[in-house]
Amino acid sequence: MTGSIGQVIAGGTAGEATASADLLVSVDGVSKRFCRSLKRSLWYGMQDVVGELLPGARRRSAAVQGEIGLREGEFWASKDISFELRRGECLGLIGHNGAGKTTLLRMINGLIVPDTGKIQVRGRVGALIALGAGFNPILSGRENIYVYGAVLGLTKREIDERIDEIIAFSELEEFIDSPVQSYSSGMAVRLGFAVATAMDPDVLILDEVLAVGDVAFVIKSLNRVRQMAARAAVILVSHNMQSIASFCNRVILMEHGRVAMDTRSIGEAVDQYGQMVKNKASLSGPGGMVVRELVLDAPEMKQFEGLPQITQGSEGRLKIVFELDSRVERCHLIPCIADETSYSLISFPWMDSDGKEMEFGPGVHEVTVPLGPLEMNPGNYSFVVVALDCKTLTCITRYQGLHPFRVRVSGARMGKLTRRIRIEPTWVRSEALGGAIRPQ
């Protein structure tokens, strides 16, 4: 794949991340074992504590060489993970819950020690993981800024210098001298974010924190993180592929504690991750409509790893056979295309020649319609079909996860959709550097 998202967006920083840039994080053959049973886990903890205090040299050297086994009931939360990260790189860590992402972050952050292997971290580490851990609810916001700042390693002088900016960023000017327990959860998180990003780290760790607060604050916080990331090595954990695609210039896909993929082709990794998500068909609603058949057809469509795959931008044709039973008086039928989170991206309401929405009565209907260009970016998609009662506009039946299909990678872009625009020469006016573009 050429021209990945990361290279397109973060071109400037990715360019700096050459071999000459500072090596900030180095993870070498790192594994960590966990235990599911709490009682047993505590007992193993006891053993580990004794092992730390009375280190038997043989067991230890074996551990360094990675020859350590699992005890009963344990599993590898992370296994044989190795990678290096330089300044300017933004690494996206993706994978299912329990794939070992957070365990890896906690080891890099030095909270827990690896069971095998070695981790080296250079410079100041900033971790945006638990925003506001350490807040005391009885103390005022201002007092908590000093406490939390100190926890994060800021000196009093540094906080003094930045406190006005922290308060301004959190937009809590009116509340800053009230106790934090009177804050809404969003306000507390905003304050936590403002303090946590007040430092200038060399290594920045972000664990699912890019979507805090209201929309305006999310935009502001994304910009702040972008600024910080430009001069640091960043590790970002997110289940939101949009943020992965727009932030990262490298992705590691984790599966069952192992690195399944380490690539600079963000689209490819996101794609691979999407394939791991199994979209099961399901239906909801009081009932009355049954989808008998649903087929998508597009030129150049082919089967790939068990799923039909279409090329981005190709024209799709949908055939749908559905049955309405006698409970239904009149209804509208609306197919939609949804992404892997079942979030509907596009709906295709059917209109008659008067521009009114089509109505169907009881019986079996077969409809074949062109859908126009399918502009979704690479990923896994499926159909959602909703039958709405014409009078009440309530849902009769809703199917989701129908006919899963993939969109092929052919130069990934930002956003959920991509529409290529063919530029006519007369649409562009350019002048040499230094000159201004004059309105025509």
């Binding site: 730390e52 909270l111 020690v113 250079r122 971790a127």
Partner: protein, 294 residues
Amino acid sequence: MDLQQPNDRHAADHLAVREYTPESAMLHPSTLFSGLIADLYRGRELAWRIFVRDIQSQFRQTYLGYLWAFLPPLFTSLTFIFLQSQGIVRVEGVGKSYAAFAMIGTLLWQTFAEALQSPLQAIMSAKSMLSKINFPREAILVAGLYTVGFNFLIRLVLIALILLFWGIVPGVGLLTLPIWTIGLIFLGFAIGLTLVPIGGLYGDVLKSLPILTQFWMLLTPVVYPARTSGWAGWLSRWNPVAPLITSARASLTGEPMEGWLFALTVTLLSCLVAILGLICFRVIMPRIIERMGG
């Protein structure tokens, strides 16, 4: 925030390197010790912040406020003062007033008891922070010590009032009080630290501590003077808190200090064990954090 800092601040050579391996830090004692000192220094401001936060919030949502620093020991001693005044128990050799004797004793004991609980309590109350943020963890212990010291100072005011009320004159022995106070605090702290490996994992330890300290108090010459014979005599000889309590009280009441040499030995040993305990704390905390969850 100045986000446009010059780039040379980031030159890789003067960046601190941290390394995490499965190898026990105990194998490199010198690195371990210098790391401990460095983190104690690095965390000094944080320790102070946490301490200020704790005392600011400790009594903020109460009506009686700082009175709570000495109400519990005061009520404990009132029990014994009542028993003594009614002749139910008869304690001999307590100087001018049994009330003063018992109250000073329990106030001093309270300092030891608080110090004993402070390491585990600090870990438990900082749980969410410990499991999510990497900071000099020694700071929470130091903050705990500050709190114990602060509460002692509050109690000292009450002790002064007691001395004044009963007209007890301390004498030059008072100058040794700081030593015994440090002894009490560090003895409790050292014992508390040795409980961390088990108590950090199993909640049973923290739950049983108040019961055990209550029992321990009765085995210690707190509300009665040290015995020399029998079980009680054996206990006050081998109970490390006993000489500290007796010496501290004697320094306040102006009585002769008999066990001062033993008390001094205990003080010095406690400081040594506390340092060892801090090193162990440093080594095992990642293992504890790993198991304790958020």
